[in-house]
């Protein structure tokens, strides 16, 4: 009978399809995620990032100033506290540089060594053996498109002393390094582009 003979294969097909679908779903759940090409974004903007226990923050600003002028400011960093609010002073001794950072618990000296120096292009510093924090900072300079000046990309990687709890505690106290870093770069931009740092204060600080 045509009906019956058709009925069975139909049922078998439906069954097979549903099992197949089940298998496909199972396979999708078990298999590693589909391979995606790496995208063009900096690693620190990834939704999930792994830097081997390091915390990484970074930021790029475009400044209408030549690369060399910006390079010189970072190469001789004693003037950086003028615009970096988190920095109370910088001491330079050859290639050893001590950055005194303002932390919620008072001044916090970070001893580093200049580990990369490409004039007009890049500078990097790394904490020395025995420093009180493991940290690396890098500034990279690129010509911006058109006549927009220089793209300044700065990033800092450090191993959080107090782990994620310390990181959140710092954020709540307004010292989130990502925000502080971004703000400091904007102040650098103001200083280089306008010669001053904008304030709405109506009077000089006493």
């Amino acid at each position: 009978m045509p009906r019956r003979s058709q009925g069975l294969p139909l049922a078998a097909t439906v069954l097979a399809l549903s099992i197949g679908a089940g298998l496909a779903v199972g396979k999708a759940m078990m298999a590693p995620p589909a391979r995606r090409p790496p995208d063009s974004a900096p690693g620190r903007t990834a939704r999930r990032s792994h830097f081997g226990g390091f915390q990484v923050v970074g930021r790029t600003v475009t400044i209408r100033a030549p690369r060399d002028q910006i390079y010189r400011m970072w190469r001789d960093p004693v003037r950086l506290p003028d615009f970096m609010e988190g920095l109370s002073s910088v001491e330079v001794d050859g290639d050893r540089i001590t950055w005194v950072v303002q932390s919620p618990d008072g001044p916090f000296p970070v001893q580093t060594r200049l580990v990369e120096d490409r004039p007009g292009e890049a500078l990097a510093w790394r904490s020395v053996e025995g420093a009180n924090i493991e940290i690396e900072a890098k500034v990279q300079l690129r010509d911006a498109p058109g006549d927009r000046g220089t793209e300044v990309e700065a990033h800092i990687a450090w191993r959080p002393g107090m782990g994620i709890v310390g990181h959140w505690a710092a954020m709540l106290r307004g010292t989130d390094p990502a925000i502080r870093g971004k703000q400091d770069l904007k102040r650098l931009k103001m200083l280089l582009e306008t010669g001053e740092i904008a304030t709405s204060a109506n009077r000089k600080a006493d």
């Binding site: 703000q183 904007k186 103001m190 582009e193 306008t194 001053e196 740092i197 904008a198």
Partner: protein
């Protein structure tokens, strides 16, 4: 010094506060000779703009004499200047593009965070406005610290009165830019919602730019009358179906360009406006966009939409379909004041533009709270209030 300070919704007072000082090298200190209350000050007065703090000095339309200069100011003591309400450095990428209200360097860094969260980017500093735009002390005061005084202020020659040039600080360039954004050419009809100061200057500017006809929409008889005197046709929305009338007055085509000079506190009795008003009242950040919605529906296919009216947050039930399907172009923004001051001063000196018709009331700075109350509550009669510091209280003259 004496200054008008904000203390909360519908609570402004004239207080004695410390005089400003030169803080940065490009600063100047201006002794204010005339200052005005702006429609956008009423948004602050109504408490619908976020980021104001008790004690903030309001005012962003002001002019005066230079009394002190920083080492890098190009102004001279005694210069008479009008100061743009936008604070701009003149050097950054945006200032170089003449997008002065997008200046990167005038909004203090620590004040930029909230704007970045809300808008994605921070705009330039503004005098006497929200801390989102820097929280700079404003011009309804005896003295003002003017940053980047080598870029913003325009020196005024002798022979013109303060009242002839005061509105170069904001509303005249704002009306002019609104008309420029409407991209007017021969034969165009331009419909303008709102006959407040900016709407009226937009009408004046659109006619100067060669619009065939300008149709002004409002409900205050005196303001509509001012629009008519400038040469506009008028529609009173309490008497007339606006959309129908606009079609009939444009040969069934619709206006080629529309200008929303109302912004976030529109009046009227439509359901969308009532909903917006409720949301604004309970403080969920909704802008009342009734005028803009109507303008988007009215404008012809492929037409232009210019929005000088101030908005600060989100709008619901926005006719996005009309925008896309009709292929509209939208241009808006805080005014790039410095782009226009020189040419508009020239037009004033040549007698092409008169702005003094707008002023309905002149008060002492001491009476500024009265000015706010009436500019807010009696919009028909109080079209523009000019304040003079130093004058005795009660020394007001009205028309």
């Amino acid at each position: 010094m004496r200054a008008l300070t904000w203390h909360g919704k519908h609570d402004v007072r004239v207080d004695t506060v410390p005089d400003p000082q030169i803080v940065n090298p490009r600063d100047a200190i201006i002794e204010v000779t005339a200052t005005a209350i702006c429609g956008s000050d009423l948004h602050l007065y109504d408490g619908v703009i976020p980021g104001l703090q008790p004690g903030d000095i309001l005012g962003h339309e002001f002019m005066g004499r230079v009394v002190e200069t920083g080492s890098k100011s190009t102004l001279k003591k005694g210069d008479r200047v009008v100061v743009p309400f936008t604070i701009s450095c003149g050097a950054c990428f945006f200032c170089q593009q003449q997008q002065f209200s997008a200046c990167d360097n005038s909004n203090p860094v620590e004040k930029q965070e909230a704007s970045e969260l809300l808008y994605g980017h921070a705009m330039s500093g503004l005098f006497g406005y929200s801390h989102l735009t820097g929280g700079y002390p404003g011009g309804q005061a005896e003295y003002v610290r003017v940053p980047f005084s080598d870029v913003g202020p325009i020196v005024i020659p002798d022979g013109v009165s303060d009242e002839q040039v005061l509105f170069l600080s904001d509303i005249l360039p704002t009306g002019w830019m609104a008309a420029e954004n409407a991209d007017i050419s021969d034969g165009d009809t331009v419909a303008v919602w709102g006959c407040g100061p900016v709407g009226l200057f937009a009408i004046q500017s659109a006619l100067l730019m060669g619009a065939h006809q300008v149709i002004a929409i409002d409900h205050y008889p005196r303001r509509l009358e001012l629009a008519r005197k400038l040469g506009a046709k008028i529609i009173d929305y309490t008497q007339t179906h606006v959309l129908e009338a606009l079609m009939e007055m444009t040969g069934g085509i619709g206006p080629d360009a529309v200008i929303d000079a109302v912004g976030m506190e529109s009046h009227g009795f439509s359901p969308d406006r009532m909903m917006d008003a409720v949301k604004q009242k309970v403080g969920i950040g909704a802008d009342n966009a009734h005028a803009l919605r109507m303008a988007l529906t009215a404008v012809r296919k492929g037409g232009r939409v210019s929005i000088p009216g101030v908005y600060g947050g989100m709008a619901d039930k926005f006719p996005l379909g009309a925008l896309m399907q009709k292929g509209l172009q939208v241009r808006t923004g805080q005014t790039h004041v410095q782009r226009y001051t020189r040419q508009l001063l020239h037009r004033i000196l040549e007698g092409e533009i008169d702005t003094t018709f707008l002023i309905s009331h002149r008060l002492s700075l001491e009476d500024a709270p009265t000015g706010y109350r009436n500019f807010h509550g009696k919009q028909n009669e109080w079209t523009k209030v000019v304040l003079t510091p130093g004058a005795a209280a009660g020394a007001s003259t009205g028309n």
